[in-house]
């Protein structure tokens, strides 16, 4: 469904991605782990068009997207839950969700999806008219995920969804990610919290200094002694 072929990204003089290649198959959860600054977020930002690769190809459903604008890529069916949630603080919860559905014209279906999001996150319905900025961190994460779902994406990119959340909430978020995946959405998940992320992923890639240093079934990656030492705390 998604294929990166030898993608190089530069930030000014910094070579942030040094030929990253990876694939995500339909209906998979693929986990991308790595240390801070390894290029995980950059990979997602490149897929969603916020960053342009200098060279390499990105194919989505067989078509190259590396030269499209971010809004065009979103319209093709890729949604992103950005790092740090990036909820619209001055828009209400409902308006945030509406923005998620910006590309869609099927009004009735959008309304049904909003009900679905409210069913998934009842807290959001309670706070429907509140401004995004007044929500707690966990609620904002739910809103960011709900907002991405409103696009009815075929591919969902999640950038550190567990960041800054209490352990119980992290478990809840991971449960919901699996639920979303079971309902048919393909997921590419970036996480610092490698333990849980590898548990829900089918396959995993390990990124180090802008290069893929390991890949394979998530369980196998999680069992690798080197990976255990570097990312899983022993």
């Amino acid at each position: 469904m998604l294929e990166l072929q030898d993608v190089h990204v530069y930030y000014g003089g910094i070579h942030a991605l040094k030929g990253v290649s990876l694939t995500v198959e339909e209906r998979e959860i693929v986990t991308l782990i790595g240390a801070n600054g390894a290029g995980k977020s950059t990979t997602l930002r490149t897929v969603s068009g916020l960053v342009r690769p200098r060279s390499g190809k990105i194919l989505f459903e067989g078509k190259p997207i590396q030269n499209l604008r971010a809004d065009q890529i979103a319209a093709r069916g890729i949604a992103q839950v950005p790092e740090g949630r990036r909820v619209f603080a001055t828009l209400t919860v409902r308006e945030n969700l509406e923005m998620g559905a910006y590309c869609r014209r099927d009004r009735q279906e959008v309304r049904a999806d909003m009900d679905r999001v409210f069913h998934l996150f009842p807290r959001l319905q309670e706070r429907e008219k509140q401004l995004g900025g007044t929500l707690s961190g966990g609620e904002q994460q739910m809103l960011a995920i709900g907002r991405a779902l409103m696009a009815r994406p075929r591919l969902l990119l999640l950038d550190e969804p567990s960041m800054g959340l209490a352990p119980l909430l992290v478990t809840e978020i991971f449960r919901i990610i699996q639920e979303i995946n079971k309902a048919g959405t393909t997921i590419l998940l970036v996480e610092q919290n490698a333990n849980q992320a590898l548990r829900i992923g089918r396959r995993a890639y390990v990124l180090q200094s802008g290069e893929v240093v390991m890949s394979g079934p998530a369980a196998k990656v999680a069992a690798d002694p080197e990976i255990r030492r570097a990312y899983l705390g022993g």
């Binding site: 969603s48 971010a70 809004d71 319209a75 990036r86 619209f88 603080a89 910006y102 590309c103």
Partner: protein
């Protein structure tokens, strides 16, 4: 006391004109973080578009108003496309200098094509003055205040109820995340320019009706004052521009009535200095939050 209420009425009419212009400054600043110094000149072009609609076509108030707003909206789109869009990734100072350049261009083009002499704006609304007790209020003031209120309600509807309006607020808050939603930033910015320019043109027509004189440099001082009004209310905040405009209008009228008419323009800049010293984020602004 009567005098104060009388001046309040006068101040409200002037203030609603400033508010209409200030809205364009603040909305464009919201989405582009640019002070569009050519905005006052768009207001001037709007006044002239109204002038020609009324004199050449012999149109009445409402068609004239709509025509002027449409002309200015197109001009706003044109300015954005030609002058600002190519600088989207340039430094902010480059865009600001360009804005000043566009302003000078429009003013001098106006002088060249329209002649620098003031023209008498056609009498679209025959002057009638009502006495309410000791207060004097004329129908032009009522039209100005009424039209402004109507336009601001319309703007409020657009910004809170329509998809484009909500997208405008989203882009103003976080452009990058807006793009992830599939929002086309360029189109949203263009829409913002059209909207702000149309409001400025409405102000131009209303001023023509109120002061009955227009000229190619008429946009300079009201443009600056409306900019101060936007800063006073809190730049980027739509309710701030409305409030700032009204406060500015009332302050100006009061200073003229009770102190000296030579302070007419000075008061605006005194307010600017005060607000920058005391509350730089503006009356309705909260201290700037840094985005992560």
């Amino acid at each position: 006391m009567v005098e104060i209420i009388q001046q309040l009425i006068n101040g409200l009419s002037l203030g609603s004109i400033y508010a209409l212009i200030a809205l364009g400054y603040t909305m464009v600043y919201g989405v582009l973080k640019l002070i569009n110094f050519a905005h006052g000149d768009v207001y001037m072009v709007g006044a002239f578009a109204g002038f020609f609609a009324a004199t050449s076509f012999g149109w009445g108030f409402f068609p004239t108003l709509l025509f002027a707003m449409a002309v200015a909206a197109v001009l706003g789109l044109l300015i954005e496309r030609v002058a600002y869009r190519p600088l989207r990734n340039a430094s902010r100072i480059a865009a600001l200098i360009t804005a000043i350049g566009v302003s000078l261009f429009l003013e001098n083009l106006g002088i060249l094509i329209l002649h620098p002499d003031p023209r008498a704006f056609p009498d679209l609304i025959g002057l009638r003055t009502f006495e309410i007790g000791p207060l004097l209020i004329n129908n032009r003031q009522l039209v100005i205040i009424g039209t402004s209120v109507l336009l601001m309600l319309l703007l409020h509807y657009i910004v809170t109820r329509t998809k484009m309006g909500k997208a405008m607020r989203a882009v103003a808050e976080d452009g990058e995340t807006s793009r992830l939603m599939g929002i086309n930033i360029d189109r949203t910015i263009a829409f913002t320019f059209a909207l702000g320019s149309a409001l400025a043109a409405a102000a131009g027509v209303l001023v023509g009706i109120y002061y009955t004189r227009i000229d190619p440099l008429m946009g300079f001082m009201p443009g600056l004052k409306a900019f101060v009004a936007a800063v006073l209310g809190g730049i980027g905040l739509i309710p701030g521009a409305m409030l700032g405009g009204l406060v500015m209008g009332i302050a100006e009228v009061f200073v003229v009535a009770f102190i000296s008419s030579s302070w007419k323009d000075g008061v605006a800049f005194a307010i600017l200095i005060l607000i920058l010293l005391l509350k730089p984020s503006g009356l309705l602004g909260r201290a700037a939050r840094e985005k992560a």
